[in-house]
C-alpha cells in the first residue's frame, strides 16, 4: 500500500489542475474565485477564434516546429550514419561526447551563447566580413525573414548529438551478416549505407517521426522565449508565449486558459491519431 501517497500526489498535481478549465467559461476574477465569477459560456473561445493574432501565432508555432522536426531528423540520422562509418573508436567517442554537450545546458545558457555568436560584433559577422561575404555586419536575430531558420538551426546545434543516440543504437543492432554479404557482392561503402544501414533503421525513424508529429503544437517554447525579441515578435511568437502574454502580463486569465485548452485538446487529439497511425503501420 506504498502506492497510496503517489496516487494522491499524481492526482493533485496532474489531474486536479484540470478543474481550472472552468475558468475558460467564466469572466474569472481572482478575488471572486471560481465560485463567484460570472459565467460567459463559449465567449472566450469565440474571441480567441476571432483574433487575427491567434492565427498568426498558430502559423508561427507550426512553421517553426515543423522546420525543427525536419532539420532535426535529417541531421540526427545523418550524424548517426556518419559516426557509424568512423573506425577509430577514440575519435568517435570524443566527437560523440562533445556533441551531447549543448543538450545538457539550459536554453538560457544556450541563448546567451547564441546571442553572443550572432551579435553585431560577434564571431559570425567578423568571420563573414573577413572573407568578404558580407559588406557590413548583420543583426542576425533581428531579421524577420531569417528567424525561423535560425530557430531550426540553433535547435539542431543543441540537440543533434543527443538525438543521434537512438539511431546509433538502432544501427548497432543491425546484423553484421548483411554487411558481409554486401561485401561479397562487391558493394561499396556508400551503397551499403543506402541499401543496408538506412533501410534497417527505417522503422525507428518512422516511429520517432510519427511520435513527434503529435507535439507540433506544444513542443518546447523556451527557445523562442529566450531568442524572441521585439524586432521579430511578429514571426517569433508561439502559442505558449501567447498564453503567457495574455494570462500573466495582461491578466486576462479566462482568455489565456481558453487558448491553453485549445492547445492541450488539439495536442491530445494529435497524439491519439498518431498512436493509431503507429499501430496501423506496424
Amino acid at each position: 500500500m506504498l502506492a497510496i501517497p503517489f496516487i494522491i500526489f499524481v492526482f493533485i498535481f496532474y489531474y486536479l489542475p484540470l478543474r481550472g478549465w472552468v475558468m475558460a467559461f467564466q469572466d474569472f476574477r481572482p478575488h471572486l474565485g471560481i465560485a463567484g465569477s460570472k459565467w460567459v459560456g463559449w465567449l472566450n473561445f469565440k474571441l480567441l477564434f476571432e483574433d487575427q493574432r491567434f492565427y498568426e501565432v498558430i502559423r508561427n508555432t507550426l512553421a517553426m516546429n515543423l522546420l525543427k522536426l525536419l532539420f532535426g531528423f535529417i541531421s540526427a540520422v545523418g550524424l548517426a550514419v556518419i559516426l557509424n562509418e568512423v573506425r577509430v573508436y577514440f575519435f568517435k567517442r570524443v566527437v560523440q561526447t562533445i556533441s551531447y554537450l549543448p543538450h545538457f545546458v539550459s536554453w538560457v545558457v544556450a541563448g546567451n551563447i547564441i546571442i553572443s555568436m550572432l551579435s553585431r560584433g560577434g564571431p559570425l559577422n567578423q568571420f563573414l566580413l573577413s572573407i568578404g561575404i558580407l559588406q557590413e555586419p548583420i543583426l542576425w536575430l533581428g531579421q524577420k525573414s531569417l528567424f525561423w531558420l535560425i530557430i531550426a538551426l540553433t535547435d539542431v546545434w543543441k540537440e543533434v548529438g543527443w538525438n543521434a543516440i537512438i539511431y546509433l543504437a538502432a544501427i548497432a543492432s543491425i546484423d553484421p551478416v548483411m554487411y558481409e554479404a554486401a561485401d561479397i557482392d562487391g558493394a561499396g561503402r556508400i551503397k551499403k549505407i543506402f541499401y543496408i544501414t538506412i533501410p534497417s533503421i527505417m522503422p525507428t525513424i518512422k516511429i520517432i517521426f510519427v511520435m513527434n508529429i503529435g507535439w507540433v503544437l506544444s513542443m518546447g517554447f523556451y527557445q523562442q522565449y529566450v531568442l524572441n525579441n521585439s524586432l521579430v515578435a511578429e514571426v517569433g511568437e508561439v502559442l505558449q508565449l501567447y498564453v503567457i502574454k495574455y494570462g500573466i502580463n495582461m491578466f486576462r486569465f479566462s482568455y489565456a486558459t481558453a487558448a491553453g485548452i485549445f492547445q492541450t485538446v488539439v495536442s491530445l487529439v494529435l497524439v491519439f491519431i498518431v498512436n493509431k497511425l503507429i499501430r496501423a503501420t506496424d
Binding site: 496532474y14 478543474r19 481550472g20 481572482p30 545546458v105 538560457v108 545558457v109 546567451n112 546571442i115 561499396g188
Partner: protein
Amino acid sequence: MSKFRTREDLFLDTLIYLFLIFLTFITIYPFLNVLAISLNDAIDSNRGLLGIWPRKFTLYNFQNILSDHQIYHATMISILRTVIGTVLGLTASTVFAYVLSRKDFFLRKFLTAFVLITMYLNAGILPIFFLYRELNLINNFLVYVIPGMVTAFNVIVVKKFIEQLPDSLVESARIDGAGELRILVRIIVPLSLPILATIALFIAVYQWNAWFDTFLYASSRESLSTLQYELMKTLQSAMRNMGSSSVDYVQSATSQMTTPQSVRAAMTIIATAPILVVYPFLQKYFVKGLTLGGVKE
C-alpha cells in the same frame, strides 16, 4: 569488412573526418569563445574577441559577479534545489516504479495508465498557478522540488528496468521473510544502479537548468531567485538593447571595469560548469537509459 582501402574508401574517410571535425568545432567553439570572453579584460573584449584564448587574462569578471550578493545567493538556491530535488525525485520515482512493477499488484494496469496519461495532459499555466496558490506553494522553496517529484517518464523508465530483473530474486527474498521495503532497498536498488544513475542525472540537470518555474511561481521573491533566472534577466536586458546599435560599446564607456557582455559570459560559464564536470562520467549510463526509454516509446 574488406581489408583493402580503395580510392573511394580513402576519399570517403577524409570527407567523414573533415566533416566531424568541423561539427565538433561548431559545437565547442561557442562555449570556448564565451569562456575566453569571461576570462578576458572587459574593456578589451569590446574590440571583439574571436579566439578561444583570452587576450588580457583576468579573473575580475568572476570576482565581480560572485561578490554580487544576489547572484551568490541565487547560485546557492540553485545548488540547494538540485540536491534536494534530485534526492526527492529519485526516491519517489524508485518507490513508485517498484510498486507498479509488482505483477501481483491488482491496480497495476490501471495505475500505469493513470501515470502515462499525465505525459500528455497539460492543464495549462494558469490553472496550475491557481492550484499552487491554494496549496501555498507560490513564493515557497517547495515549489521547486515538490510538484516535479513524480514524473511519468522517470517512473516508467525505472519500472521497465525493474521488470526485466528476474522475479525469482524477489520471491526467494519473500520466502526468507523480507518485507517489501527491505526487498526494495536490499535487492532492487543495488541491481538498478545504472538506471537510477541515469534518472538522477536527468533530474539533477533539470533542476539545475530550471528557470521557468522561478519566473512563474517565485519571481516576486528575490531570495528564491535561481542562477538560471538571474542569467535570464541579464539576457532579456541584452535582448531589449539589441535593436539599438552596438550597445556593448556604449555601455562599457560608463561602467568602470566590466561590461554587460562580460558579466553575461561569466554567468554563462558558472551555469555551465557543473554540467561539464558531471556528464562525461555518466555518459555510458545515460546512453543506456535513453535507449531503454526509447524502446517503450
